[in-house]
Amino acid sequence: MRRPWRIAAAGLLAAALADLSSCALNVPYDKYAIVYGIADYNGLLSTLTYTDDDADAMYQLLLVSQGFDLVTLRTNSAATKSQLLTDIGNIATDPDMDEEDLFVFYFSGHGGPEGIGPEPETGDAENEWISLYGSTYPPDLSTTFSDDALVAALRVIPCRKKVIIIDACNSGGFIGNELEVDGEPAALAEGSESILELAADAIRLYANFDGSSADIPPWEALVLSAAGERELSLEGPFYGHGIFTYYLLEAETEGDQDHDGWVTVTEAFAYTQEKLYRDYYLGRFGPYDAYSPHVSGGPVDYVLFEAR
């Protein structure tokens, strides 16, 4: 007599849990994005081919497929530093934005390190930068955004969930992990540290952590970069995009690794990393050009896409 009662109770419990689960998966917040892509640098920097197409495609994905509430797209000559500051200000003052909302900044174009030659370790105080329209080399502050300057500019946006996606050379240098050591090296060609060295570094970071940061720490924004701090990021006709962006666009449909209906920043990272590794391994681009995406550390992750 008791068994049917137990089965019924279990069924009710399962239904209740399923209902709770579906409630938890709602997205009761607004989603904003700023999307910049620059291919034509007006002759001041080398012309790229697909970076403005990257931005167009990301704009379509976020606005049309993902249903973002507001996506600002700027390409080529419209994508200046002053315009970016204006766009950030407009979103920051949007009366509908609150702390629960999601903000995504996507950039595809030139990037680089502050200095010339070998760089210090990741998490250093040395800046990397992205080049807006009108940039020159070496970079000047009026047309480029360093990692520190970018995070300072984005700080006016009141939402807590911020994601910065950069498809540019040396973009891993924007990541400011203060408690994690990255087993993925800043340049694949340099190889990794040994596990003991990594463990010792992890203890050192824990012991020395004081809440300060260089670059963009995970509590300010999660950064998903196309390349390591000392790597180039490539584009190619086979893809019609930057290679990282090509796979990032795919991640909407292919990147939901745990099949929970959402593609998080970490899942998007893992998907693009695996795909880039396979392409390098298969020789679609040569070992000399091998590079790998990187992602911020930190205990939290954000939903980036709804899986399609």
Binding site: E184, L198, A199, A202, T266, F269, G298, P299, D301
Partner: protein, 190 residues
């Protein structure tokens, strides 16, 4: 640390001289439970976790033992709430702990409390981001000896754990543990 190493070295001697508790024990354990995590920016959420460990324990005096364990644990990511989830992670833990317990006998269970600390080296799931944090664990357990040489016992525990994560305001967990122990130096009647 020197104190602990000294205790460990003297453990077997102490066991013979002072304790009828069956000598040193080798064992393995399996734990599962739920953890609560809360960052300074986002609401708390729950993660489930699972861990396994190998253990080596020495009696120090009649009611006190010292243990060392090497474990592997994994925590699932939390369910997303308002687009935020706590990352899953997995890694190794090196622990040492004290056991305050009643005397061991074949014909009756013994109760105890285990308390100690661990050093954890974890990697966030799907990444190669390695991080370190220490933890404290304490909890009661009940050990049930099984008759017949070689002497074994099973124990059931309720480990409560507090992680000292520097990027979380709170990281704590509670779980259930089942352990198996083998006492190679067990003597009947001790």
């Amino acid at each position: 640390m020197l104190f602990l190493v000294t205790l460990a070295a003297l453990g077997p001697v102490s066991a013979r001289a002072l304790s009828p508790a069956g000598g040193a024990a080798l064992g393995a354990g399996l734990q599962a439970g739920a953890a609560a995590a809360r960052s300074s920016l986002h609401p708390a959420n729950v993660q489930t976790w699972l861990s396994t460990r190998m253990l080596l324990e020495f009696p120090l005096v009649r009611v006190l033992g010292l243990g060392f364990s090497l474990g592997y644990h994994l925590a699932d990511e939390s369910a997303p709430v308002s687009g935020v989830l706590y990352r899953g992670h997995h890694g190794l833990e090196f622990a040492t702990y004290l056991l305050l317990r009643s005397a061991l006998a074949v014909d009756r269970p013994r109760a105890g409390i285990a308390a100690g600390g661990s050093a954890n080296f974890d990697v966030y799931n799907l990444t190669e981001l390695l991080f370190f944090y220490p933890s404290l664990t304490a909890g009661p357990y009940l050990e049930l000896p099984i008759e017949g040489p070689p002497r074994h016992s099973f124990s059931f525990g309720l480990p409560c754990r507090l992680d000292f994560r520097r990027d979380l305001e709170l990281s704590a967990s509670i779980g259930l543990e089942i352990s198996w122990r083998w006492y190679p130096a067990w003597k009947e009647g001790t």
